[in-house]
Symmetry: D2
Amino acid sequence: MSSAAVTPGSKGKVLLAYSGGLDTSCILVWLIEQGYEVLAYLANVGQEEDFEAAREKALKIGATKVFIEDLRREFVKETIFPAVQCNAIYENIYLLGTSVARPIIARKQMEIAKQEGCTHVSHGCTGKGNDQVRFELAYHALNPSIEVVAPWRIPEFYTRFPGRQHLLDYAEQKGIPVSQTRGKPWSTDENLFHISYEAGILEDPNVTPPKDMWKLTVDPEDAPDTPERIEIVFSGGNPSRVINKGDGTDVTDPLDLFVYLNTVARRNGVGRIDIVENRFIGIKSRGCYETPGGTLLRIAHMDLEGLVLDREVRAYRDEHVTPVYGRLLYNGMFFSPEGDLLNKIIPLTQASVNGTVRLKLYKGTASVEGRWSDTETLYDMDESSMDVQGGFEPLDSQGFIKIQSIRLKKWGAKALN
Amino acid sequence: MSSAAVTPGSKGKVLLAYSGGLDTSCILVWLIEQGYEVLAYLANVGQEEDFEAAREKALKIGATKVFIEDLRREFVKETIFPAVQCNAIYENIYLLGTSVARPIIARKQMEIAKQEGCTHVSHGCTGKGNDQVRFELAYHALNPSIEVVAPWRIPEFYTRFPGRQHLLDYAEQKGIPVSQTRGKPWSTDENLFHISYEAGILEDPNVTPPKDMWKLTVDPEDAPDTPERIEIVFSGGNPSRVINKGDGTDVTDPLDLFVYLNTVARRNGVGRIDIVENRFIGIKSRGCYETPGGTLLRIAHMDLEGLVLDREVRAYRDEHVTPVYGRLLYNGMFFSPEGDLLNKIIPLTQASVNGTVRLKLYKGTASVEGRWSDTETLYDMDESSMDVQGGFEPLDSQGFIKIQSIRLKKWGAKALN
Amino acid sequence: MSSAAVTPGSKGKVLLAYSGGLDTSCILVWLIEQGYEVLAYLANVGQEEDFEAAREKALKIGATKVFIEDLRREFVKETIFPAVQCNAIYENIYLLGTSVARPIIARKQMEIAKQEGCTHVSHGCTGKGNDQVRFELAYHALNPSIEVVAPWRIPEFYTRFPGRQHLLDYAEQKGIPVSQTRGKPWSTDENLFHISYEAGILEDPNVTPPKDMWKLTVDPEDAPDTPERIEIVFSGGNPSRVINKGDGTDVTDPLDLFVYLNTVARRNGVGRIDIVENRFIGIKSRGCYETPGGTLLRIAHMDLEGLVLDREVRAYRDEHVTPVYGRLLYNGMFFSPEGDLLNKIIPLTQASVNGTVRLKLYKGTASVEGRWSDTETLYDMDESSMDVQGGFEPLDSQGFIKIQSIRLKKWGAKALN
Amino acid sequence: MSSAAVTPGSKGKVLLAYSGGLDTSCILVWLIEQGYEVLAYLANVGQEEDFEAAREKALKIGATKVFIEDLRREFVKETIFPAVQCNAIYENIYLLGTSVARPIIARKQMEIAKQEGCTHVSHGCTGKGNDQVRFELAYHALNPSIEVVAPWRIPEFYTRFPGRQHLLDYAEQKGIPVSQTRGKPWSTDENLFHISYEAGILEDPNVTPPKDMWKLTVDPEDAPDTPERIEIVFSGGNPSRVINKGDGTDVTDPLDLFVYLNTVARRNGVGRIDIVENRFIGIKSRGCYETPGGTLLRIAHMDLEGLVLDREVRAYRDEHVTPVYGRLLYNGMFFSPEGDLLNKIIPLTQASVNGTVRLKLYKGTASVEGRWSDTETLYDMDESSMDVQGGFEPLDSQGFIKIQSIRLKKWGAKALN
């Protein structure tokens, strides 16, 4: 197709999820070339970014409008906290730091697209990854009438740009400013909750990431030699207060509290993992992640649940909510009938999760040193005691064991002897 | 009941699980007093113990025979390794160190009881804990015709010994040697896999355990300032070799390998937890645990599974095997129809779990630095690569997403807009 | 114990769940003999019963008060309808007819016990069955301070009455009227939802129940030779209207509607099963059940869900709610933390379950002949059509299949060839 | 593309799954036109078919070879019996009659394709259905190097044949014999296990299927007025013998036995359902099915499991195997890592499933009249008995209930009062 033949804007308005980097800058220009009017959208979910520079760059290279949205507060309250409440995790290890940001980013994008009369939305995700799926499933659920343009899946685009050098050439040719002449040998995605590293040299799962890759947390070996101690208070399963008597911190605002947890975890080297995971599309992929504050919240929240959550409610949540929720977040199904259902179920499990957990942070570790709850009473020191009789009749255990053994005796008599 | 009235041995032979400590020594003598002939049985599952001193003590206070059995090798191979293979865990945190020892101890006890013509077996577990359940369910399954004597659930016994002092008085009166005049203010259970601490001052869940409580592992703050690095090799999901180039270690024997992992984890402060858990009988209880080598195996095994296990097999195992197996171990159902079934299922999931994981140990942390597998091929660097096309057609993702969105669009059109 | 020594009423007031039959009449008199003041409580949950005769009998034999409570409406609305909403079933076959009545009966009993100042409640359940567990767990959860007297587990009682003849002798001696001189060779439990038959000649699982055992439903062989057709309307997963154009029925009141469904199912022989089930206490037991109206509701509700419930919500409910709820109902855990949670989850799954199902009833069968929903739109005739393209691009399936096959090709290349 | 330009056979050999009907006959000719050499493959999985006529037709219209394979025996033994063993079902109602045939058909097709040096395989499934997925996932897993040609997803094909009339025109033009001038207003898929009806007039889910649609079973209203009785014997969960004393039947061969069960179920009108289901690709679809013999096996097998299967093994299988297996069969994942795992797990659950079930068949119903097992002993008449004490101590139930209630009392004291 000859771009000369395209009337500018003839294909309608597209709202592009723009990062300011090389890829989405080239996409922005390419979309204009294809006949779209391009509006740029940049979500602030806590990543380190020069937002104003990105705004100027987008306008300079042809965007007709730029939207920069601070979504940090809703990110913390609407997806990070629910993930903490249900101890969300993927494949037993990954805290879903990218996944929890996507619904927040996509929702605002669709709101703006609707308000601005866009017929399309676009993004710079590759055709092999999870994020294309997460963004697009959210887009489709939120507004089925708006179309998606995914350049990295359009042959005209991806055959034109088979490598980074082709993007750099195009940028030069189109006058797109390029801040960094040499990319890092890995990709990253950063937000308030975490940063991910993948691709490049990390594709060999036996390559140890270089020390300078890790950006958010101090190397445990470089962390302070003296532990720090904090207290995290939970109300209804949500963190409601963080206290560090050592540095005088006492925060209650959800965003401030989360930012502080990041700070204290980062300086003590807490929250790194290095894994091989299974992407939704069936490919295995190696990723490294730093989730500083989120790791503290997970440890503290799970510990408190031990004290205040009924055994069967906990088991139900652990087996029937946590893995399902982790997988649906990972697979981009936050906005879905089942996502909606689970988002309603999670708080039902958390009414009794009230109390305080004391953590010690030291060179990459976060250990629980104690916990208490003023309002919850499932833990009963007398009952639990091995020394005190505590209203408990040993003979009851006798009956309990005997009844349990009926089935086993029958089986054992036959199978084992 | 007047003990004068009882003919010695008139109640038959009882095989007592004997520890050499105050409780089971008093029980031994009390059982003789009740008219039993008492045989003592002491399982070596790797706990620190003067077995010969215990033997002499048992004989001295009236046991007619003493059986000291080294079960460490079968412990490692028959319950520790399967637990590692399925990443067994209770309430997301406890590695089941007591639970995995019980089946091994109980099985040998029942073998000896049968061989010696015992009509009864006995143990010193309290009436409020999990271990009474674990031992007795195993006993009943393994030999329904042998009866159980559980003194701590017999009113004559527990009303006679309401506190530790009463046991000490009885010991003095009966000539039972007491090595320790003052007990520690907590209880412990130790084996090759772990040590547990509970009761006493730990009953207040907000009391931080004193530094000198922890017995197996060095305090992370006192661990070496330089990391140690090891490699763990797995074959069929079982650890088959451990290499530490730093100290020249290269072990392959299951028991040696496990003992070495304990050594290296202990000196680096790895494997402590402090939790509140839900006992089988419905009471909440605070416990502290050290599981040094087991913690390394868990981390390495789970990591390798990321590389070599199919996504759906992993998800199946994680959701349908691991939690069920963890709970049945905890609840003492190892010897049961469902335990038998799961023990057969676990190895079926592990055929592809072959490869090596490199760990860094440092002041309480154990981090994965890389992993590889010579035989497994689910991970494909080209396919995974964001740079290489790798036989993957981006248009396929398009169709994948579109099909996934059919359902979501219908729902979204109705529910969200 | 000599009854002469007991001061009447000295043990406090007990509220006995009374049926008017031989067992509970003897228990009533025996409790008085033991020193209790006995108040009788008879719940009307729809069983066939001469309630006034029972009242007179209770008073005649010594009850100081009698409470007869019509609980049918709350039974239908509070436990039958939720059971229908989640397709509750035990071991894939039993519709839990006894289990759903127990919470309703126990709750009112505890209300009256509290209001009357009773220190105890009592019941006539045997020591081997499920109902003792169901009643008592409900009692304990609802009011932990009221004690339970379970005569069939008290040695003085059960050794005194080892068989039915001993109860008859006692009745004669104490002047307890006995309406039936000869019991049926099985036991029954009847309510609005079902009737159960067990014990006696049914204990041999290969004995075919005699034709005259079945009480609620006509033998299919004796049912009309012409089918009957009804329509059941659901709103939010609850039945809200039943129409039978054949006999002019059009009912909307929950109780009337359920009674009518019983009527029409009974006359067409619908709802019989004959099974061997696993009791909570680990014993296998043979039971026969008739659940006429409940069977129709189950068939119609499940059918409608096919039309209106999202696939993943249905799968979630089927795998994570239905079996858990069935087991907790069966095991008497309705009033429990997890029961409370599930009772809140169930309605969350049912918002879209609105529509009408047409059933044909004929000689023991109930077949769906069609269904529709005016408000729900997940079913889309064009989209579903094999003839119409319907906004569906066949190429999308191509990509969907290709992505699904990535994993399988890797595995197949290795495992199968 | 002009067909004149294509050299015959230049695209290689394709093995087409051929049915002899209009669609696959047109596909056969069209594939030749595209430049393929076409070999035809027709699997006999028990459908009613004139196989020799199909062979002649395939050869007449251009196939260079025709393979007609009798797969009935392996179908019964390798997928029907495992489905029975685990009570496989989809969405609680559909017995998966199409799904269980697909792996058998696909496997033989890939074997022949390899042996004949085919580079491609092809089928006549539409682009909206489940069968394209089932066939192709099996193809890809079984032989990743053979390509798939799916004409109904190729734009050149499906735009050329937008409706049945276009296929008829093409057939006339190409000399393809058309046996039936008018198609039925629905589609069917038949095999030994079942027949399905969908599409056409059935697309309105409220249309009652016409009486003459149902092909395999007699209308219950037309079935005999006298019940028939049969006995089904199971060994290791597989049916091993069927006896009908009424007609003198006594069969043990797996295929003969299954054919006989079909016969007896068909004549008594057993096995019809009419549902709306969720296809893998996310579309809802209405289907009617007849599964005569399979329905009898399901009823009998589940009943016997009540008698002989341990409660917890049954619960495990019901919650962790049956739904997973049903879904993977439905979604075409039989040949997959997880399918392989489950195929190994299923027999592990069935070792004790030995015994006989007596069924009564009558006008669409199949009721259990009794069951017994000579070898299994979990059912214990004395223990189960309400009249006999049976080695069961009522006081044990007391302890069992008390222990269960600890948790509930704590919760109840707080939550309910």
